[in-house]
């Protein structure tokens, strides 16, 4: 009864011109898992997410979403199949209000009622956003902006969320709150989360399993506890 993995990549390879930024990455994320992708700056984490979400077509390899081959499908179509990518920095539209950002995220849902219900749920999850709903998104703090970015992804009713360094530039306390929120979300809703982080300690505390990328290739993988307990991995890749 082995269910299809929520997300699976096979030999995913990406080039920028002549430079190979991602080298045959195989990765499998079980449904409902919180999976970390770690690595130093420039290791290829963002490139991996962009290839998986359809923003950057891979040179070779495949992307499977719940067993279905979606290689080459553009990002806007993958959103409709439940794959949501929250880019580095959140990709919040600062020219729009908080609520307009959220409504934008919900536009792929059918029906006004479903959109309104999703909006209510996101506001329940992120109270500060409800208070600031009519304000410009540019007035938000870094943590609130990240909440807005995650909230906008949730508005689409995702099955898999890819998060690119949500803790970047945030205070440790805020980061911890966001990690708790992600854990809570997946245990309540069965959401699958792929979490890209440079900050290995934070990510491994939250994640079940992780991949470590080094120069575009998979350098290590396994359950978080194993990676944390492996002195070679700790020293070479996690900076712990």
């Amino acid at each position: 009864m082995a269910a299809d993995p929520a997300l699976r990549t096979e030999g995913l390879t990406v080039h920028y011109g002549a430079v190979r930024a991602l080298d045959a990455v195989d990765l499998e994320v079980a449904p409902g898992a919180l999976h970390a992708v770690l690595g130093a700056n420039g290791a290829g984490k963002t490139t991996f997410l962009r290839a998986a979400s359809g923003l950057h077509p891979p040179r070779s390899g495949r992307v499977l979403l719940f067993g279905e081959d979606v290689t080459g499908a553009p990002a806007e179509e993958l959103v409709r199949r439940g794959l949501l990518h929250v880019p580095e920095g959140g990709g919040v539209l600062t020219e729009l209000t908080v609520e307009e950002n959220l409504r934008l995220g919900g536009l792929v849902r059918r029906g006004r009622a479903a959109r309104a219900a999703a909006l209510g749920e996101v506001y329940d999850l992120f109270a500060p956003l409800r208070e600031r709903r009519t304000r410009s998104a540019s007035s938000l703090s870094g943590g609130e902006r990240q909440m807005l970015a995650i909230g906008r992804a949730l508005m689409a009713g995702p099955r898999v969320v890819l998060l690119d360094e949500p803790s970047l530039g945030l205070a440790p306390l805020i980061t911890r709150r966001i990690m708790h929120l992600l854990q809570d979300l997946r245990s309540r809703t069965g959401l699958t989360v792929v979490l890209v982080e440079q900050n290995a300690r934070t990510a491994l505390r939250a994640a079940d399993r992780a991949h470590v990328l080094d120069q575009g290739a998979v350098a290590a993988e396994g359950p978080s506890a194993d990676l944390l307990g492996d002195p070679r991995v700790r020293a070479a890749y996690l900076g712990l």
Binding site: E76, P87, G91, L93, L96, L107
Partner: protein, 283 residues
């Protein structure tokens, strides 16, 4: 005093035409950062098609509808076939491409319909000061501006358009089909440009009929701020009224010069347009 009132009303009526064309330029600029020099040619082709349809059916309004549809198709087609492939080219490329399209379309119109003036009907009675035709021009353009405001502010389509224009990639990540949305913005803008053509065409249509109108519209768009639809409408009406005063009090030979003076003054004092806000957009 009577003369002043007449000049003002006439200015508003012709200003409505500049406003509509300026609005079409601004909508396209907002969506894709392209100044569409082919816009008057879209209006021209649309007006000539309207002429043909009206001649064939005997109905002014059938021609009117055909013009708006033709404008929309020309806009969407140009975005898809000419502008989108140039997305990653130098900023000069779309300028050259739309200028080229302007000449091709103007030439084609001359070949199909000839260079002799064709007599073109007004939508309504045009006699008297501030005639029903003048009122129609002003009212239709104000209505369009109002409808656009409602579209952008309150509808899902408007939200998609704003998102696609501001941050295409973030919009895609929210499921917005950016390509289709931008083609839609071009279609909408060019239908509004065709409306300007229908209002500007009477009483006679020639392949160069919209050249002066286009110059005034560009002046209006720049004066109002290239990113500001309301600035475009206000700028168009202001340019219309101002030029009407110049024509009435000084002489018609100075109108084009006056438009140039307005343009240069605004560019010197407020290069982002009269209605620009202090904060520039961050990309």
């Amino acid at each position: 005093m009577q003369h002043f009132a007449d000049l003002t009303l006439n200015g508003l009526a012709s200003g409505a035409v500049y406003a509509a064309l300026a609005l079409s330029l601004v909508l396209i600029y907002q969506a894709t950062r392209v100044l569409n020099f082919a816009q008057p040619a879209f209006a021209l082709v649309s007006a000539y098609l309207a002429y043909a349809v009206t001649a064939a059916t005997g109905s002014y309004w059938a021609g009117f509808a055909a013009a708006l549809a033709a404008g929309g198709l020309l806009g969407a087609g140009t975005e898809r076939l000419l502008i989108r492939p140039l997305r990653n080219a130098s900023p000069l490329s779309p300028i050259i491409a739309t200028l080229g399209l302007l000449m091709v379309l103007q030439g084609a119109v001359g070949m199909v319909w000839g260079n002799e003036p064709l007599s073109f009907a007004y939508p309504l009675d045009y006699r008297g000061r501030f005639s029903p035709a003048d009122a129609f021009a002003l009212a239709s353009v104000l209505l369009v501006a109002l409808a656009l405001f409602a579209l952008y502010r309150f509808t899902p389509a408007g939200l998609r358009m704003r998102a696609a224009a501001i941050r295409p990639e973030a919009a895609r990540l929210s499921g917005v089909r950016v390509g289709a949305v931008l083609a839609g913005a071009w279609a909408l803008a060019s239908a509004i440009g065709a409306l300007a053509g229908m209002l500007a065409a009477p009483p006679f249509l020639t392949p160069n009929a919209f050249d002066a109108v286009f110059v005034f519209a560009i002046a209006a768009a720049v004066a109002g701020g290239l990113e500001n639809p309301f600035g475009a409408v206000a700028g168009g009406l202001a340019v219309g009224v101002l030029l009407s005063y110049v024509t009435g009090y000084v002489g018609p030979e100075l109108t084009a010069l006056a438009a140039l003076v307005v343009l240069l003054t605004v560019l010197a004092l407020k290069p982002d347009g009269l209605f620009s806000r202090a904060a520039a957009r961050k990309v």
